[in-house]
Symmetry: C2
Subunit: 347 residues, 2 copies
């Protein structure tokens, strides 16, 4: 048995209706709603077929049908039309925050959750290996040296380093010179022990300090590799009764609060997605997410490109009956706006 044209239409009607109402939909509803002019009995037969094929399920005997994961998947893959959803004034709103990328991303999460009534997550962008652009050491007082580390892409990191020895200005200048001449243009993997040794030689008696500084530099570079995850709209999940039963919500909210699993989810297809290019949308339905507590949810992610080769993700988490058309439309729109902002920022 295959999906003929009529079955597709019926399936579509079922899903559309279910997305709207959240109630299992029965044969009579479809009979009246669709333009097929079929009696409920015929619809019933077709529905039995659709169930056998795995596209819909009955919550219990004598209830209507609801889409199965496979049904949603079919819908998303072949029948969905994106609604272009304008996020008005967002650009101005966001540009204001653009001086610090973390703030901007957090704000994006907030905006999305408010606009969609779902939960949202945004990751910081993931850099491959950042090269060191330059390092600047400054004496703060007798005991502390501030290392300002600028990485490729103008990522700035500060590390306070405790010096056990007194440093005069000349020494600091010299150290600056040494650090920069050796480290400029290198990434974490390229800083070998050999290089470290040479630096120590040149620095004379300040071996210990050099070690500490290098530690700080290494840490700074490493930090950039970690995805941070911002979430928003967690409370929205409590509004959907199909998620709100029993302790399932608790697990779900825990996942959203803990963020570790979210980071993994965002990370997993990042390479592939970014290869596909900016703006790529992914939909995970129910069990398709690798996260256990989300088996009753759907997750839609989009990849944004901060700059050449630097990608992060935006995700929307909602019930399986989320409004996919709107969500996908909104995300695409958002990606466009972010693109503009990031491009302007660079130029």
């Amino acid at each position: 048995m295959e999906l003929d044209d009529r079955k597709v239409k019926i399936l579509q009607a079922i899903i559309k209706n279910y997305l709207e109402t959240g109630e299992p939909v029965g044969s009579r509803t479809i009979s009246k709603l669709s333009d097929l002019n079929l009696s409920s009995a015929t619809i019933r037969n077709e529905m039995a077929d659709l169930e056998e094929l795995g596209y819909i399920v009955q919550p219990h005997t004598s209830a209507g049908r609801i889409p199965s994961d496979k049904g949603y998947r079919f819908y998303v893959d072949t029948m969905m039309e994106e609604k272009v959803e304008e996020l008005n004034n967002i650009k101005a709103d966001l540009e204001e925050k653009a001086d610090k990328i973390e703030n901007l991303l957090q704000h994006v999460a907030k905006l999305l959750s408010v606009n969609t009534n779902y939960a949202t997550m945004v990751t910081t962008p993931k850099y491959r290996s950042r090269k060191c652009k330059f390092i600047q050491l400054t004496e703060i007082d007798e005991k502390n040296v501030l290392a300002v580390i600028v990485l490729e892409g103008n990522i700035v990191k500060n590390k306070m380093i405790q010096a056990n020895e007194y440093l005069d200005k000349e020494m600091v200048l010299k150290l600056n010179l040494v650090m920069n001449s050796f480290l400029q243009g290198l990434d974490l993997d390229e800083i070998s022990l050999g290089i470290v040794q040479k630096m120590k030689e040149q620095a004379g008696e300040h071996e210990r300090l050099i070690s500490d500084i290098l530690d700080a530099v290494a840490k700074a570079m490493q930090e950039e590799g970690n995805l941070e995850v911002y979430t928003s709209g967690v409370t929205n999940m409590l509004s959907y009764p199909e998620l709100n039963d029993g302790k399932d919500v608790k697990d779900l909210i825990f996942t959203l609060e803990d963020k570790k699993e979210l980071a993994m989810l965002a990370d997993q297809d990042l390479e592939y997605d970014s290869a596909e290019g900016n703006g790529r949308i992914q939909v995970y339905i129910g069990n398709e997410t690798p996260i256990d507590s989300m088996k009753n949810c759907s997750v839609v992610t989009a990849t944004y490109e901060l700059e050449e080769g630097v990608y992060g993700k935006v995700g929307i988490i909602g019930p399986k009956r989320m409004d996919y058309e709107r969500v996908v439309g909104t995300l695409k729109n958002l990606m466009g706006q972010l693109d503009d902002i990031f491009k302007n920022k660079q130029s």
Copy 2:
């Protein structure tokens, strides 16, 4: 009618029992439990008195009694004994994160929530007005200048500034000199328009750039005045049935996610508390919190001192029947450990 000795004992027994079980406690229970050797009938009479006095309430006729806010308040003020609760190995654990205060505070929130099974909040410390220690401008590339702003207390802020004009090294050096000679030692309120004018004079044609830099400096200083709030253990709130009814939890979780109200709560008594000295503990019971969604909760806060005159707050949010003794004990212990860490860090 006054609280005589026996009433106090009975009240204590009721509260203790209720804290343990979470169930309304009846006269028979108290009769058996306490060492007063009274029949349940006598207890009943006393309980009627206690209710009249407002220390306990009946959820409904023919249920036992539970403490009222007034009852809890009396308990916390006069009968509670702190349990000293060791947070083992926390110090080592925290010291590792101590290089960045935000990380440390976030970790504190996490640790507390895991240890207590309540929700926790930690604010960043609040500086009064930070004076500017020094400013360093660095040319990153033709278009960008990085301003590293170090405030009193070695708070480091980075601001990237877009330059519309080309800057050679000499110019940057000169600007550095101008900025520092004028701004060092000043706080936000002390930078007057007069000073700004003089700076612009000295900088010659770079008026616009000076403006941008000053904006950045002002922003950096202002940011430090804002309390950031970290929360953890939000999900724990779903474990307490007395909070989990209806939409109350939703509001509560929203408050914990939104954080604005938490910041206000933390801010409100900060001045007073810090005047009282480090480690001060505050207990807000039910309606005593200014936050509406927390009227069924109790909040216990403690003030920590990062350094001379710089205070922040740690708070634990739980049901009104939270284990006050343990919570207060834990917080005091934590304050001690934080103290050690911060003191060591400075020296």
